[in-house]
């Protein structure tokens, strides 16, 4: 590749005495520096490039309203999901029983099935709501939207939940077509349950966690 034509020399034909050596110009160009540069640029661009373009996820939060203004979720259709330490997910359906027997533990893989199952059971329990159906018809939406209108997921990240967990669970709402969900603070009872489940190890050192996180009602 990098053969450099030394340009004639004595390697050519034997020439008679006095005959001038005609310099043969080679048509081959030495490509090595160009290729070197090419690869340098490739490496440069590979390292500087950002392949995945960032996207954004919409998050709409409600105004902090007074307790009595908050809309009550139907108990039959409510699913409360709590996010704990080390990607743990806790959940219960409806109201938390006093003996906490319906307080269950799962992970991010399992929560999807829980949501899907709950949604299915809410849809199965739907007996028809003329009000809602009339509204949907007027708005030009499919009446089937009414079937899961009682389905509400309440998301409660605790103090050890990471941002990733929070985004993941919000994403799970989009993935499973959950239209109604809310993000609220834990009740003290739930916090104690989570801490008990997590082994009651050393409590988080943040001062906010030392005092039970009472739901901030502003």
């Amino acid at each position: 590749m990098a053969s450099i034509d030394a340009g004639g020399g004595d390697s050519g034909h034997k020439k008679g005495p006095g005959v001038k050596k005609s310099k043969k110009l080679s048509t081959r160009v030495d490509m090595t520096p160009m290729v070197d540069l090419g690869f340098l640029l490739i490496t440069f661009f590979i390292f500087t490039t950002t392949m995945s373009t960032p996207t954004t996820m919409d998050l709409f939060m409600p105004k902090d309203s007074k307790e009595e203004d908050q809309n009550k979720a139907k108990e039959s259709g409510a699913l409360t999901v709590m996010l704990g330490k080390n990607n743990a997910v806790y959940y219960y359906e409806g109201q938390l029983l006093p003996d906490a027997s319906n307080f269950k533990t799962t992970n991010f893989k399992g929560i999807r099935d829980v949501i899907i199952d709950k949604r299915k059971s809410v849809i199965a329990a739907y007996t028809g709501d003329p009000d809602c159906e009339a509204k949907a018809r007027a708005a030009g939406k499919p009446v089937t939207d009414c079937r899961d209108k009682d389905f509400v997921v309440v998301i409660k990240p605790d103090l050890d939940a990471t941002y990733k967990n929070t985004v993941d669970i919000l994403d799970e709402m989009t993935i499973n077509g959950v239209k109604r969900f809310a993000m609220v603070d834990l009740f003290p009872q739930e916090l104690t349950l989570i801490q008990a489940t997590e082994g009651g190890g050393p409590l988080p050192t943040t001062p906010a966690a030392a005092a039970p996180a009472t739901p901030t009602t502003k």
């Binding site: 490739i42 996207t55 996820m57 105004k63 985004v167």
Partner: protein, 211 residues
């Protein structure tokens, strides 16, 4: 040799065309994934960054109109009595992100914008409502942007904790801002789920999320 070089240059031209330079970042953030396909707005946005250590940074994306940033820093300077000099305020326009309390702002802006990345910034205080300085930044930026449609971006690291995220949301909420956009990386809808079916029905090919 020749085909080899051909391929190499093909790759080179691909990278040259496909590349998009990373905007300067004060901290490296690994964003979580989401199935959302909405593109990130690049202009007219207020961006709050939350890193894995819980530090909060504030920045304004206003490339088109640098005077906006100047308005904000002038406002902050006047209301908080920081005593910033003219060159320091000009420097803010070039600054990518602010991650210091108001008390440290003068020192940070005394450093040329290009060298600020080397400085370890402690983050904007967000702890409680009394010392939530992020609230003031958002308020001033929001009023500077008034009359435009702006986006409120929150970019958090995977390992950032929820309480800090909540404080950021509170800072926005106190400004009567309730619609946010969380910066994420694209991901496909998992197969067999509700969203997957919906996207398939719309003719969106699975994998289109990466576009």
């Amino acid at each position: 040799m020749t085909p080899f070089v051909d391929v190499a240059f093909l790759i080179l031209s691909f990278f040259m065309l496909a590349t998009k330079f990373k905007p300067p970042e004060v901290v490296e953030i690994k964003t979580p994934n989401s199935v959302s396909t909405k593109a990130l707005p690049e202009n007219d946005a207020i961006l709050v960054v939350l890193d894995s250590a819980g530090r909060v940074f504030f920045s304004m994306l206003a490339e088109k109109d640098p005077t906006l940033k100047y308005t904000v820093i002038k406002n902050v300077n006047d209301t908080r009595g920081l005593g910033l000099t003219e060159p320091e305020m000009k420097n803010f326009v070039k600054t990518a992100a602010i991650g210091v309390p108001f008390t440290g702002l003068k020192q940070l802006l005394g450093i040329p914008a290009e060298e600020q990345a080397k400085v370890k910034q402690p983050g904007i205080p967000i702890k409680d409502s009394a010392s939530n300085e992020l609230f003031y930044w958002i308020r001033d930026a929001y009023s500077a942007f008034s009359g435009r449609k702006i986006n409120f971006l929150i970019k958090g690291d995977n390992n950032a904790k929820y309480p800090q995220f909540k404080e950021i949301l509170n800072a926005f909420k106190r400004n009567d801002i309730y619609k946010f956009q969380l910066v994420t990386a694209a991901e496909d809808a998992p197969e067999g789920t509700e969203l997957y079916k919906e996207r398939k029905a719309q003719g969106v090919v699975p994998g289109a999320a990466n576009k």
